[in-house]
């Protein structure tokens, strides 16, 4: 039960280097009348990854509900007695993550044992009740989780606050506030999070698309239609302040501006020592945080802008390829993108690499150079 702080985009360059991976897979996307969505992928894999992604659109971590979704993630993940034992005994594992734009549960089960995961999936989508005692205990665990935050993660959290003010608060939550949350309020939030428009189910593995599609549709169509259809879009403030020397601003993951910023960060990052790029795809304002040793201006002067541009495009392509290179990554990547916007896909992001104009890239490179 981790907060996936920067985990999604924690791109060591080893990841992006594995680019041009050819994976044989077939996919299917299903949209149900209750506005929930299913993404299925059939591929060669020893395990199947079953993921439930609950979008936070309209239920973001605003100041007065800070950490509620994270608390829910903790409570719901352990809400089905005996479930973890069944999954682990079969050679699988259930994990859960909370981020600014989603909660994600993943059941990783050996091929052929998908039913075990579906039991959990179905149970999690049902309404829940909680007790004050459960809330108090998990708030304490969340407090301890906060103590495990690394210096780097804290710096990135600071960047979010610098750039976005109170809209940039981390989804972790404050344990002192969380332990006072009313059980009924949490139950209501869970109901909202599991309504159709918020729900994406993404499955990847050695599966029969038609058969699994029928099974999952039966589970997903039980979700309520939800009051907010289509999504209520809550934008982060446009009042951006250049900040701490690590991060640059992005907007929606499918925008050309974001792609230009990624190309600049990956291109420069390729030439830094001990590079890591932290980026969370989002449908609203976001950040790309670049970590490494070296001077951007010198790198650009030494290598030339075109070299950085070409290198950046190659690495972004490699990063996207890596994010679809195995069943677990692929289910997460497809599912998260779909949860942000039903039209988002890795393929669409790749198209944007070729469309990214040099002028935008230059602007992002300047922003990066000025801040590092």
């Amino acid at each position: 039960m981790l907060v996936e702080t920067a985990g999604f985009g924690n791109s060591s360059f080893a990841e992006s280097s594995r680019g041009q991976i050819t994976v044989e897979s077939s996919q299917s996307r299903v949209f149900l009348p209750n506005a929930s969505a299913i993404c299925l992928e059939s591929r060669k894999s020893v395990y199947t990854s079953v993921q439930l992604i609950l979008s936070s659109r309209g239920i973001e971590s605003i100041a007065d509900k800070r950490g509620y979704r994270h608390l829910l993630e903790h409570l719901v993940a352990r809400s089905l007695p005996g479930h973890d034992e069944k999954i682990e005994g079969a050679g699988g594992l259930l994990t859960a993550y909370t981020d600014r734009d989603w909660i994600r549960f993943e059941w990783k089960v050996p091929a052929g044992k998908e039913k075990l995961a579906y039991e959990g999936l179905e149970a999690f989508l049902k309404p829940k009740t909680f007790t004050a005692e459960q809330i108090k205990k998990e708030s304490r665990i969340i407090y301890l989780e906060g103590l495990e935050t690394s210096i780097l993660e804290r710096n990135i959290e600071k960047d979010w606050l610098t750039f976005y003010g109170s809209d940039g608060i981390a989804p972790l939550g404050d344990a002192n506030e969380l332990e006072k949350v009313e059980p009924e309020e949490l139950a209501m939030m869970w109901k909202a999070l599991t309504s159709g428009p918020q729900v994406t189910i993404s499955i990847s593995g050695n599966i029969d698309l038609k058969q699994e599609s029928n099974t999952i549709k039966k589970i997903a169509q039980q979700c309520s239609i939800g009051k907010d259809k289509p999504w209520k879009l809550r934008q982060l403030s446009d009042n951006i302040t250049a900040g701490s020397g690590r991060s640059i601003y992005t907007n929606s993951v499918d925008s050309k501006r974001t792609m230009s910023a990624l190309i600049a960060a990956f291109g420069v990052g390729a030439k830094l020592k001990d590079t890591a790029i932290h980026y969370q795809p989002t449908f609203r304002g976001g950040l790309i945080s670049l970590v490494g040793e070296g001077k951007v201006a010198k790198i650009v002067a030494d290598e030339g802008e075109k070299v950085i541009f070409d290198l950046g495009k190659r690495y972004v392509r490699g990063w996207i390829d890596f994010k679809t290179s195995n069943a677990s990554e692929s289910a997460a990547f497809h599912g998260i993108l779909m949860s942000l916007d039903r039209s988002f896909s890795p393929k669409k992001l790749k198209e944007n690499i070729d469309l990214a104009p040099v002028s935008d890239f230059r602007a992002e490179l300047t922003a990066l150079g000025g801040q590092l």
Partner: protein, 395 residues
């Protein structure tokens, strides 16, 4: 994986006092026609080092892979798989160096490895002190000595120490990937034949004595040491029962019952002379007195006594998932935050290191057989010994 060839040459035991020049460092080949790239892993076996030497070595390894006398930083980037890094890890008894290269760069990769070993370059202008662990709270938990920075390491001390550590009988190299059987051995021979190490006696270097103690961290650690190589598989399985997944003893005790941890893990890591099972508890240190630490130990022991067949079976299933289904638990820790069964490069390192450490070939089946041979009674007995005899401290 399609294993087409598996040749294992003799790995001599470490004897730094030996002056006899015998044969070049041995090479293990694992040919795999399905592989998309070639992995090269080198181990440099270490003698017992003083804390001062440890410090110099840590900085040495940090600086080693930036350039060599023959290869500049751009040459290195050209040879290794585009965008990848040179993998390094410092273990209590060995240094790991690893690279991934494309098929056509096998020669280049072997040449680069030979250059890291025999012609390192520690240039004053580029020599940098290893920064404190910033990206991972985990790193301080797995470094051998919790070393902090002091000005002991310089380009000169690094060159001196590295040259003394790298000898024909301390180095082993493993290669896996799509190549013709015998090809890496032949090419490696061309690079390394005739090489004479600069030093052959005992380490002559006595750097200034360190006076400060390693910094005490925030994580409560229980360490159980074993010097019996054949206990490794048993300890690994015990660490799964203790800390693997949400049915584990630690999850159920320190997290669910006591609400004292968010992170609770157990893994096996190497020591100079054997293995160590480490229990790692992310507690609120400020509230932990020695009495409370012993209270935690008592609670874990109580849970161990109640260990039942269902728990052991669940752990065995999870362990199988770890070895066969890419399940992310980590009962084996061989330096850094690396899962040693996930990537081909890390599996090659595991094979290589296990042979070097235990003197026998790594066998997944053997580990699974060991796990399945444990029942609740046997598990409780060994776990009681582990938890009772382990030493507690903060790291």
């Amino acid at each position: 994986m399609n294993l087409l060839a598996f040749s294992l040459l003799h790995l001599p035991f470490l004897n730094l006092a030996s002056t006899a020049q015998v044969e070049p460092p041995p090479l293990l080949e694992i040919a795999d026609y399905d592989a998309k790239q070639i992995e090269i892993e080198v181990l440099v076996k270490l003698p017992k080092l003083t804390l001062a030497q440890w410090h110099v070595l840590e900085q040495t390894v940090w600086n080693l892979t930036s350039r060599t006398q023959r290869y500049g930083s751009r040459d290195i980037l050209r040879i290794i798989k585009p965008g990848s890094k040179v993998r390094t890890a410092l273990l209590p008894d060995a240094v790991r160096l690893g690279i991934s290269v494309d098929r056509e760069e096998l020669s280049g990769g072997l040449g680069l490895m030979q250059s890291f070993l025999t012609s390192p370059s520690f240039v004053k202008e580029a020599y940098r002190e290893k920064p404190a662990a910033e990206s991972s709270v985990y790193e301080p938990m797995v470094v051998p000595n919790g070393i902090s920075s002091t000005p002991l390491a310089t380009p000169e001390t690094s060159l001196e120490l590295w040259s003394a550590l790298v000898r024909t009988n301390t180095v082993s190299i493993s290669v896996s990937g799509n190549f013709s059987p015998g090809e890496p051995t032949k090419k490696w021979g061309m690079f390394i034949d005739g090489w004479q190490p600069k030093f052959t006696g005992n380490l002559p270097f006595t750097y200034a004595r360190r006076t400060e103690k390693p910094t005490e961290g925030q994580t409560l650690v229980f360490d159980f040491e074993s010097q019996k190589p054949d206990e490794f598989a048993k300890l690994v399985f015990m660490s799964v029962i203790l800390g693997g997944g949400k049915q584990s003893i630690l999850f159920k005790t320190t997290r669910e019952k006591l609400a004292e941890t968010y992170r609770q893990e157990a893994f096996v890591m190497p020591t100079e002379k054997g293995w160590k099972l480490r229990i790692l508890l992310g507690v609120e240190k400020a509230k932990f007195t020695p009495e409370k630490i012993e209270g935690i130990r008592k609670e874990i022991l109580e849970a161990v006594k109640k260990c039942n067949e269902s728990q052991v079976k669940t752990a065995a299933g999870l362990f199988r998932g770890y070895l066969q289904n890419d399940i992310s638990i980590r009962p084996i820790c061989l330096g850094g935050d690396v899962d040693v069964v996930k990537e081909e490069s890390d599996r090659l390192f595991l094979r290589s290191y296990y042979f070097f450490k235990a003197g026998r070939a790594w066998s997944q089946d053997l580990f699974l057989t060991v796990a399945e041979s444990f029942d609740a009674e046997l598990s409780a007995k060994l776990l009681t010994r582990i938890v009772s005899e382990s030493k507690a401290h903060f790291q």
